[in-house]
């Protein structure tokens, strides 16, 4: 799945024919796949008797995705402008939940415009994440659960740093 996702991402970013809507939706799907890998690692490490093979393969998934991440935000793949909603639509949206988690939808992209407007800063937090993702793979090849857990915390931190600056809280 990871390899396929990676291939898909590389493909979409290199061909101009793919609509920016599709680029955004592939991006959301890839982030979710990464989220799933993170959950697998966390579940293993929290279980008390971690299956380190699982951790290793999930760390590899994250690393694979980390390679192409900067290409997931080509010019033109900014989130579409918010459609003005009536008061009743806004109220209804309060009570309709989870819909956005069933299928990735471009309108739900939480990417901030700063990604395109502050490329140097984005690159810096990306490089931080990349380093931690690589280090996670190295750590996961040992059987030192404490060290793996510590590195996992650092990796998670590197995600949060970027989310704080470049991801909107809600959409």
């Amino acid at each position: 799945v990871a390899a396929f996702g990676l291939a898909l991402m590389t493909h979409t970013s290199s061909t101009a024919q793919v609509s920016s809507k599709q680029v955004i939706e592939n991006r959301i799907a890839a982030f979710r796949d990464m989220g799933s890998a993170f959950k697998n690692i966390a579940d293993e490490l929290n279980s008390g008797e971690a299956n380190l093979e699982e951790v290793k393969s999930a760390a590899k998934v994250v690393q694979n995705y980390s390679v192409g991440l900067p290409t997931w935000f080509p010019p033109g793949s900014e989130p579409p402008p918010e459609i003005p909603r009536t008061w009743s639509e806004w109220f209804a949206s309060w009570f309709s939940s989870g819909e956005e988690y069933q299928v990735p939808r471009a309108e739900n992209s939480r990417a901030k415009l700063d990604i395109w407007q502050k490329p140097a800063e984005f690159e810096a937090v990306y490089q931080h994440f990349k380093r931690e993702a690589d280090a996670m793979v190295v750590a996961s090849q040992t059987s030192d659960t404490a060290a793996i857990t510590a590195q996992f915390r650092k990796l998670e931190q590197s995600c949060s740093v970027c989310h704080k600056s470049f991801r909107a809280d809600e959409r």
């Binding site: 959950k39 966390a42 929290n46 989870g98 988690y101």
Partner: protein, 231 residues
């Protein structure tokens, strides 16, 4: 003279009567505090405290449901859950003082109480499966379900919270409405436990001993502790 005598006999003056027992009042104000704590800790991402707050709310709600079957008179579902006719009849008295109103939850408010209790049960149940961005800070049962499912559960956890906010707003507006329109203070009785009631309004109120509530709450707390640690 005769007529007036009989009038004074039937309309005995109200006197302070124990309306809400200690467990109901403790439940109510602890729930207010913990609901606020859960809200704040979710907003600021303090998930460790949020989890404990949620476990405490689950304990409170389980206890309250038990107490609704075995507690003092006004705590019981049997006392305040009324049929649609009674609810509609009550709605016609919404804007004026109803001297015949019985003590405790009114027929409309009683249903809101049940709705809030059930939603709080659903809400804490969903919380057990909810996750953060990474599936790292999670509810204790989140590892049983996939990332995608857990994300949907988490979205539902937010939705149910919003519905709870609406029900709480209705509850508070009704209480303030009683104060402003009916000149009836419902807040003090929930603090002191006492309200001035005529014998007719009071009916027959019986109080369960406090120790029964304490034991029931302890059993609920132990159940939740075992649930979240063992499973």
């Amino acid at each position: 003279m005769l007529a007036r005598d009989s009038l004074t006999r039937t309309e005995e003056p109200p006197k302070p009567t124990r309306l809400w027992d200690v467990p109901v009042r403790l439940f109510h104000w602890l729930l207010v505090a913990l609901f606020g704590l859960s809200w704040a800790t979710a907003e600021y991402g303090l998930i460790e405290i949020h989890r404990l707050s949620g476990y405490s709310i689950l304990t409170l709600v389980l206890f309250r449901i038990y107490w609704a079957f075995a507690g003092s008179t006004t705590a019981r579902f049997k006392h305040f859950l009324r049929g649609p006719k009674t609810v509609i009849a009550h709605m016609s008295t919404i804007f004026h003082r109803d001297e015949d109103a019985s003590a405790g939850h009114n027929p409309l408010g009683g249903w809101n109480v049940v709705a809030m209790l059930l939603l709080l049960l659903v809400q804490t149940g969903l919380g057990l499966f909810a996750i953060d961005d990474f599936g790292i800070e999670s509810g204790p049962f989140a590892h049983y379900i996939s990332f995608e499912t857990a994300k949907q559960v988490t979205a539902l956890h937010e939705t149910v919270f919003n519905i709870l906010l609406v029900l709480i707003a209705l509850h508070v507006v009704a209480v303030l409405g009683h104060l402003a329109i009916k000149r009836e203070n419902l807040i003090m009785p929930m603090i002191t436990g006492n309200k001035a009631l005529t014998p007719k309004q009071a009916g027959s109120l019986t109080l369960r001993p406090l120790w029964q509530g304490v034991i029931a709450a302890a059993v609920c707390a132990a159940f939740v502790a075992v649930l979240v640690n063992v499973l």
